[in-house]
């Protein structure tokens, strides 16, 4: 089966900086892949190599089996990048109508405007849009060509929680089944909720490429969490880390059974007890060896 995206041992150097270092990656049709990593990990550089905005120093990139700069490949992709601009003094509908002509089989303007949730701003000048509305306009431009594959680089930067939830509902509805999506994001809960596959990179190197559940399972530590008036005596127990805030105690341990038995034997006043696995954030921090984002 041929890949939508195929990245073969790709490196990119800027002077002495190795921004992307020997990354190989293949994305099949219909996959939803999240690219994660700390700031400066090389996510945006990798996306720009995949999209043919920049040329790899070594290695090869193909989209739909074509050179990433081939017009036929670009006719089948939709892209949202960070910090790009549009001509001021054009209206939302005008710029969408302009972009639609680039594609052979575009969506109706009204449909693109509806999917992006811009109905009330369709006749407004771009200069009058809020930051969130501008992001939705970029999303409308990314989908107006009815693309087979969608590339979203940090699409929800600056959104509040409600706007983010809303945005991903729109994305999910559009991607549905059959369309391919590659996204980068700082918000790991977003990646966890939407992606079938998580690719973690740091310092330009690919560290992990797995399903979210498998990635979380790699972290051995569980979290034992409960309400207590004060931290109980924990001496001699196999505990890696203790957190406490507002009467809630979190114990990180790879032997939760031992810890729980000891707590009960010692008669600790424990309420609302939970034992949970690692979050995706903890998994990524474990891989990159530092704070995420």
């Amino acid at each position: 089966m041929e890949s939508v995206v195929s990245v073969d041992r790709v490196s990119k150097t800027f002077g002495r900086l190795r921004a992307v270092d020997g990354v190989s990656l293949s994305i099949a049709r219909g996959e939803v892949v999240a690219l994660l990593g700390p700031n400066g990990a090389g996510k945006t550089t990798l996306v720009s190599l995949i999209l043919g905005i920049r040329r790899p120093s070594t290695g090869a990139v193909k989209i739909f089996g074509l050179d990433a700069r081939d017009r036929r490949a670009r006719s089948r992709t939709g892209v949202m990048l960070q910090e790009t601009g549009l001509p001021n003094f054009l209206r939302v509908r005008e710029v969408i109508d302009m972009f639609r002509t680039y594609y052979a089989d575009p969506l109706d303007s009204d449909e693109a405007i509806r999917i992006a949730g811009l109905e009330e701003k369709a006749n407004s000048l771009i200069t009058t849009l809020s930051g969130g509305q501008q992001q939705r306009l970029y999303f409308a431009l990314a989908i107006c060509g009815n693309p087979d594959a969608l590339f979203l680089d940090e699409p929800t930067v600056g959104f509040d929680v409600e706007a983010r939830r809303n945005f991903w509902a729109h994305v999910r509805a559009f991607v549905g089944s059959g369309r391919t999506l590659l996204l980068t994001t700082h918000y790991l809960e977003e990646a966890d909720a939407i992606a079938d596959r998580i690719v973690v990179i740091d310092k330009g190197k690919l560290l992990a490429d797995a399903r979210p559940a498998d990635l979380k399972a790699r972290v051995k530590a569980k979290r034992v969490s409960f309400d207590a008036p004060r931290t109980p005596a924990l001496d001699g127990l196999p505990i890696e880390r203790v957190q406490s805030s507002n009467g809630r105690i979190d114990l990180f341990t790879s032997e939760p059974e031992t810890v729980l038995r000891a707590l009960f034997e010692r008669g600790a006043p424990v309420k609302n007890l939970e034992v949970v696995g690692a979050t995706l954030e903890e998994a990524v921090i474990g891989l990159t060896g530092g704070t995420h984002g």
Binding site: V4, R74, T84, P87, F89
Partner: protein, 264 residues
Amino acid sequence: MADIAAAPKRELAPIGPIVVAQAKSEFLRLIRVPAFTIPVIAFPIMFFALFGLPFAHAKLAGIEAGSYMLASFGAYAVISVALFSFGVTVANDRGEKMTVLMRTTPLPPIAYLGGKVIATLAFAAIAVSALFVFGAITAGVHLAPLAWAVLLGRLLVGVFPFITLGFAVGYLAGPNSAVAILQLINLPMSFASGLFAPIDELPSYVRAIAHWLPAYHYGQLAWSSVGAPTEPVVTSIAWLAGFTVVFVVIAIRAYHREEIRTFG
């Protein structure tokens, strides 16, 4: 899962409608900016009112001064439109990183340029027509309909050195400096080429460099169509073509510099 290579290849979008859409957008983004429209439409009319109107029926270079100065300020109007529409929008597209977003779409570069050229020609035709109407009404300048058409046609055909010069500046300058640099080119060049005052009245050292300016030969092309004695039309066209080649080479070098820096 189906093999994607076996799926029917989607056709590419036809280029004609892309060029039309680009031209429309470029025209709208020009006409909605008063900082652009006022200088390129009102200034030539204002200069004609100040310098041409009082002497409209005097003789200049053997013809009526009114028609001579309509040709002069018509040339100035088209030069201004071409330099600013190309220079400033190209510098802005780069500064705003719109060029990066455009790179990810199947927009052919030739359609991007074609749209800008068409919008520039349309805007230039409007600016020159407004000036002609003003001159005909206020100064009673009378030319045969064909002479008006020839003058307008020559002004539009001769615009390419200024389009390519604007493009080169748009690629070499930042969005904030482009306007200033273009104005520093436009005003002294137009003055030294005799577009504001007849060349015979200029200091001798200015007359000595005038021949090396594209606006001088562009002015010759305009004046010859209203009956003033000038260099042969073929000579003007050859000079303008030569300048176009020089500016295209500079623009391509600037474009390649950007190609390596931003898209390498």
